[in-house]
Every structure is written in C-alpha cells, then in structure tokens.
C-alpha cells in the first residue's frame, strides 16, 4: 500500500511521518506538495504536524485552502483514508472534514510531553489493531489542542461513536488531571461519520521505536495497513 504525506509551508513532522512508514512499517510512502492537486494514487493521506502558514489567523485556517485540499476532499468523499495529526487535525477541522474547532490550550502554553490515550473505538481503519479501552502512550506537542464543539455537536459525536481517543491516566482513567490542554471531555481524537477521516492531537509518528520512549504509535499505522490490505484482497 502507499501513503502520501502532505507538505505545507511550515509542516515540520512530515519527515517523521515519512520515516516511520518507510523504515519501521516498511511500506511505500511519498510526499505530496501543497500546490499539487493529484494524490498520486495514495491509499492513505497523512496531514502532518507543524505550523502550516505560520499558524497565521487560526491554526489550519490557511492550509485548508491549499490546492491539494481539493484532491483530499474528493478522496475523502470516495472513502479514502485521511489522518490528520496535530496541525493536520486542526486543518481537518477548519476544512469541515471533521466537526468542531480548536481553542488555545487552557494553560496558554505550548505543551510538549508524553500522554496516555484510551482507545474508545477499535472498529475504525485507524484502530482495528487495538483492543477497546487499550491505553496508548504517545506524545503531544501543541499550543492549540483545546478541542471545542457545541453541546449539540458533542451529542452527535457520542451517538455516532466518533470519539476515538480520550486523554487518560496510564491505567486508563479519564479525568481532568490527565487533560493536557483543556479539551472538552478529554477528547484527543475523533473520526467522521463514515470513519475514514481521523484527527488526533498526539503524534503516533513520534512513538515508533523503543529508543524514543514508546512503540505505541505503530498501532495506528498497522491498523491502517491492515485495513487497506484487507480491502484489497
């Protein structure tokens, strides 16, 4: 299968994503330039972390209008897999591919640390290698990760099982004490109704090797690979 990593001006986790796919997951991966429209036959598009367009106006607000996004809208519409990590999640929210918006962290600080997240949905293309309630150790690094959605929107997310990850304790307890940014109800990651678009604040591409502190990020990429290969057979 083939992954495509989008490069916006200011992306800075593009090579991390490329690296884990190529050397750890050992799958085909290429870069997609923000000015292009074609996705080069990718099976999964990764919108990486970083500071696209310097986070000007609002995080992800400018990137959402880049030419490559038109290709991504069409791809997602047809069921193609799209994963937005950190700034990529912010872009998906601005683009309306996922519901809600990001506010500044409640601490107003850039938060860079290891967190634990609980897998609430294992029946998505991004988590099918996980068990329900499994706890993953993955780092966050952001200033705007304070997820917000209206009351009505939150109700819909719950009804449709779209909340994929919650911030939690190492033992899996969901509590404000383990919320790094003030996100509504500890929400760390959500998917769309069709479950082919995922946004998550933590960085699975930074948790691919023991020497880095955790291998748990592999679960996300392994799930994607399993899903795509199963579909192809």
């Amino acid at each position: 299968m083939k992954f495509g990593v989008v490069i916006f001006p200011g992306s800075n986790c593009d090579y991390d994503a490329y690296q884990i796919i190529k050397t750890i997951m050992k799958e085909e991966v290429g870069f997609l330039w923000h000015q292009d429209k074609d996705l080069n036959g990718c099976d999964c598009v990764i919108l990486p972390g970083g500071f696209s367009y310097g986070d000007y106006l609002r995080t992800g607000a400018i990137a959402r209008f880049a030419p490559i996004m038109q290709g991504i809208f069409n791809f997602a519409e047809k069921g193609g897999l799209v994963i937005g990590i950190c700034n990529g999640f912010q872009i998906l929210l601005e683009a309306g591919l996922l519901p809600g918006a990001m506010l500044r962290n409640s601490s107003l600080r850039f938060v860079c640390k290891w967190v634990h997240i609980k897998v609430e949905q294992e029946n998505t293309p991004f988590t099918n290698n996980c068990q329900r309630s499994q706890v993953l150790k993955i780092p966050v690094a952001h200033t705007d990760g304070n997820y917000f959605i209206s009351e009505e929107g939150l109700k819909k997310l719950k009804e449709n099982n779209q909340i994929v990850f919650h911030y939690c304790s190492p033992q899996g307890k969901i509590d404000p004490a383990y919320n790094p940014n003030g996100a509504l109800e500890n929400i760390a990651g959500i998917c769309n109704l069709k479950r082919n678009v995922l946004g998550m604040m933590p960085h699975p591409e930074r948790a691919g090797e023991k020497i880095l502190g955790s291998e748990d990020g592999r679960y996300v990429f392994n799930s994607i690979i399993t899903f795509v290969k199963r579909k192809a057979n």
Binding site: L57, A61, L93, A101, L103, L108, F148
Partner: protein
C-alpha cells in the same frame, strides 16, 4: 461613470461566541487582578481586520466582506463577526 468601481474600507470584528471559553481573556483578567484592578468582572479577547478593496457599490461591498469573513476571517464554529463599512 456608474460602472466605475469605488474604493471601500471595511472593518471586521471577530470574537469568540458567547459560551466559548476564552483562555486569553481569563489570563488577562487574572493579570489585571495581580496589578490591583480587582473590579474587572470579565475580559473577552478578539481581533479586527481592516479590509480595503474596490467594489461597484456599497451593497456589493458589504456582500463581499461578509463572504470573506464567513469563509476565512472567522471560524463560525467558535467565532462571531461584525462588519462595519
């Protein structure tokens, strides 16, 4: 002459919707308390944009500024905007 475009200046005020937490406003309020200004009940932060452009008439101008505010300058999920022209 009537087809000639005129120059317009608009100001767009963008602020967080009521009910949406404003961490910056809260922190500024706390700082004001530290400075001795204890009577401050609430601070809400926001931003404004000055937009200069050419348009056929005032109605068209207003339409355009509302459009760009809705599409880009503000995020309707969390923000309200007000246009003055």
């Amino acid at each position: 002459m009537s087809k000639e475009k005129k120059s317009y200046q608009a100001t767009v005020y963008v602020r967080l919707k009521e009910g949406v937490l404003d961490p910056q406003g809260t922190t500024i309020k706390r700082a004001l308390g530290d400075m001795g200004y204890n009577g401050v009940e609430e601070i809400r932060s926001g931003k404004f944009f000055e937009v200069s452009f050419l348009s056929a008439n005032r109605k068209e101008a207003l339409k355009l500024v509302n459009q760009i505010s809705d599409k880009l300058l503000a995020n309707p999920v969390i923000e309200d905007f007000k246009v003055e022209i």
